[in-house]
Amino acid sequence: MSTLLDGNHLPLVPEDSVAPARRRPILGRMLLAGAAAFIGLSLIRWLTGANDLTSGGTVNTALLSAIPIGLAGLAGLWSERSGVVNIGLEGMLVLGTWGAGFAGYQWGPWAALIAGGICGAAGGALHALATVTFGVDQTVSGVAINLLAPGVALYLNKLMSDTYQNVEGGGGGDKQSPRMEGIQQLSIPGIESPLRDLEAKQWFLLSDIAGVLRGVFVDMSALIVVTVVMFVGTWYILWRTAFGLRLRSCGEAPYAAESLGVNVYLYKWIAVVTSGFIGGIGGGALAVMAGLYKDGQTGGRGYIGLAAMIFGNWRPGGLATGAGLFGYTDALKSRQADSVKALLLILGLLLIGVGVWRVLRMRRGRGAGAGTWTLVGNVATVVVGAAAVIGFFAVERIPSELVSATPYLATLIVLVLASKNFRMPKADGQVYRRGAH
């Protein structure tokens, strides 16, 4: 269990820190792929009439759902880039929700976020103590923190419950905190009604763009700004500073880093505590959105965040895409069943495309390691894709219970399709002992 993806399956993809010149074409390709996906989405909306696919409301909800997932993933990114697997994210989110509930009703939503971060950082410190200082298996420590954190949060909340019950107009109690006020919302003035009109026309592409713009720039929660700032800040710190390079070197080759004079223990500590802090803010954001702390509020978002991070190949941009996709399915689920059915069509076509392309590539003999396994995998991809397309035409509506599984299924499918292109930090999950090499 020391590596999440067995290293021997992975041809090394050049890292941009090694070859910065190669980043631009990749970025360009990703933008192109994003644009193509958007046009495809727009086309399907136009053809099937599932107008919620790109409505402003959907986009707005999707962004909100994506915030805690994205922050959880970002937390995981910090930790794993330094070589520490953080399954305990879920627990750190839980601590964050409690901290936010505790601070929020007294000092407002911004204090709630900070308090959530501090509580999460405490969880991170525990994880760092166990894994970095004592060298305990990282997954084990994470699982233990996930067992511990909900107990701690509920215990603290019960100690506070007498105070909570006496808060005016609060309604706090054993399992929840008093209500706090909401966080600010920002809008670009004067764009709402023209965008809404354009969206209502239901034109191909134009209305979709209007919907997305309205979803993003009208009533935008300040939490979104916070999240974006943290993503950009993380990218800058980890990939554009000497500090970040040293931190990532601890996740790639700790002993080499050590030989260059990097204090690996210290860097791992900083990374894991920061991870807890960001995870705590993610939990805090959940509490701020709900207006209070509630037992069981996180609902596995720590795990989804982890999935988003892996989906994004341990990179901030990919992670943001993953979080956005997960937030998007989440938003669709709560809105319109037809839209979800349309997703099935998209997924099916995508899978068939990828599968057929791979089989063709294999026949031309270009596929690396073209064994029976690969062929079976590719054929299975096409079959699953065909099943999804058939499902679109055969099924009346997708049961809402199954929709909630979409993000997880998507992550698994992406892992299956692209596992050869995945590149996790090389020493991720391995115990580092100073001087052991």
């Binding site: 590596t3 004592f134 107990g151 219970e401």
Partner: protein, 383 residues
């Protein structure tokens, strides 16, 4: 030489005891601090917990049954995790495997009505198959695409939750304001074992847990398969050199682990609830991980761990009588797991240092001081 050996074994025994004892001590210490924060006296809280077991009262009997029943469930989950652990596979998916398996077993079991000697094995086999196959997805992904079982089983847990909810709504019946599967025919009911004055009964399938424990011990300790499994867990390259196919072992072990996970819900299903509903506990798979860690993957150790966990669970309520929030127990459990793994890690490292010193003495070199030149080389061997 004999004296040296005697001293060595005495030291080993002391070291073996040191880890669990210090872990419990740390856990008690931290819990005491947590109780003091709440403004109560730790001794009061511990006394209240111990009193819930008092055998001279009917309540004590009831709690005893409760503990045994919970331990049965936890033990099966622990064994499921431990099978994979022994091969360095981390099956976080026991939770999903168990719920999906017991759900499908309950659905199918309600549709057929065979004589008991066929009905019960049928349900057992279905549960094991479903759990095993669900876990096998993770095994296949690992073998075929190199995807870590940690990640895939986390995803599969969530997917299982969705599938179970769907099946329950599609095929279940509404009972009161709860959704559950149809009730099993009486041929599938396994009578409980009455215990003294207690109103509740011990699950009949407590014996299933015992059998599974014995099979686990025998399979791992006394068979070729078990040897290969442990060898693969200790050193893949050594196992490959002795002719073991790691891929085949991974598939088999994930299936076995999942099949055992499939049994987790059956004592409750066949012994008490007779239908699957939302009242089935979630998170049992994670408790199973804790049990496997506390019991150090040993069949006997895990039995003690499961009983301890069950005792902590059921004595939680009695904490409220002294005004301590019952969540204290969850803190104790979490701290216990953490301190156990930390204590064993530290003792393991300390033992390495000691052994190294012995070697140094035996070959006549001066014993290296802490951090001396020889220290890293042994650390490397352990890393």
């Amino acid at each position: 030489v004999r004296r040296l050996r005697a001293r060595l074994s005495g030291r080993d025994a002391a070291l073996a005891v040191l880890a669990p004892v210090s872990a419990v001590a740390i856990a008690l210490l931290i819990s005491s601090v947590v109780i003091l924060i709440a403004g109560h006296h730790p001794i009061d809280a511990y006394r209240a917990m111990a009193k819930s077991l008092d055998p001279s009262t009917p309540r004590g009997d009831r709690y005893f049954v409760l503990i045994v029943n919970q331990a049965t469930t936890y033990y099966l989950a622990g064994v499921a995790v431990a099978i994979a652990f022994r091969m360095n596979l981390f099956n976080i998916g026991v939770d999903g495997q168990y719920r999906l398996a017991v759900m499908v077993a309950a659905l199918v079991g309600a549709q057929v009505d065979l004589p008991p000697f066929l009905q019960v094995p049928l349900i057992l086999v279905i549960a094991m198959l479903v759990g095993g196959l669900w876990a096998s997805i993770a095994g296949l992904l690992k073998v075929g695409r190199g995807i870590s079982e940690v990640i895939s089983t986390i995803m599969l847990n969530a997917i299982a939750t969705a599938v179970v909810a769907y099946l329950l709504n599609r095929f279940g019946v509404t009972q009161g304001n709860d959704r559950s599967t149809e009730e099993l025919p009486r041929s599938a009911w396994i009578p409980g074992i009455p215990w003294r004055e207690a109103a509740n009964e011990i699950y009949g399938l407590v014996f299933l847990a015992v059998i599974v424990g014995i099979l686990y011990g025998v399979l791992l300790g006394r068979t070729r398969f078990g040897f290969d499994l442990r060898a693969t867990g200790l050193s893949q390259s050594a196992a490959v050199a002795s002719g073991v196919s790691v891929k085949a072992m991974t598939l088999r072990v994930m299936f076995l682990s999942g099949a055992t996970a499939g049994l987790v819900g059956l004592p409750l299903l066949l012994g008490n609830s007779h239908s699957y509903g939302l009242d089935f506990p979630a998170g049992v798979g994670f408790v199973g991980i804790a049990i496997a860690l506390l019991g150090r993957n040993s069949a006997v150790g895990m039995a003690f761990a499961a009983l301890l966990w069950g005792f902590l669970d059921s004595s939680a309520v009695s904490l409220e009588t002294v005004d301590v929030p019952k969540e204290l127990v969850r803190i104790m459990q979490g701290v216990l797991v953490l301190s156990v793994v930390v204590a064993y890690e530290l003792v393991r490292r300390y033992r390495l240092v000691l052994e190294q010193r012995d070697v140094g003495r035996a070959v006549g070199e001066p014993p290296p001081g802490p951090g001396g030149p020889a220290a890293p080389s042994l650390e490397k061997a352990s890393a």
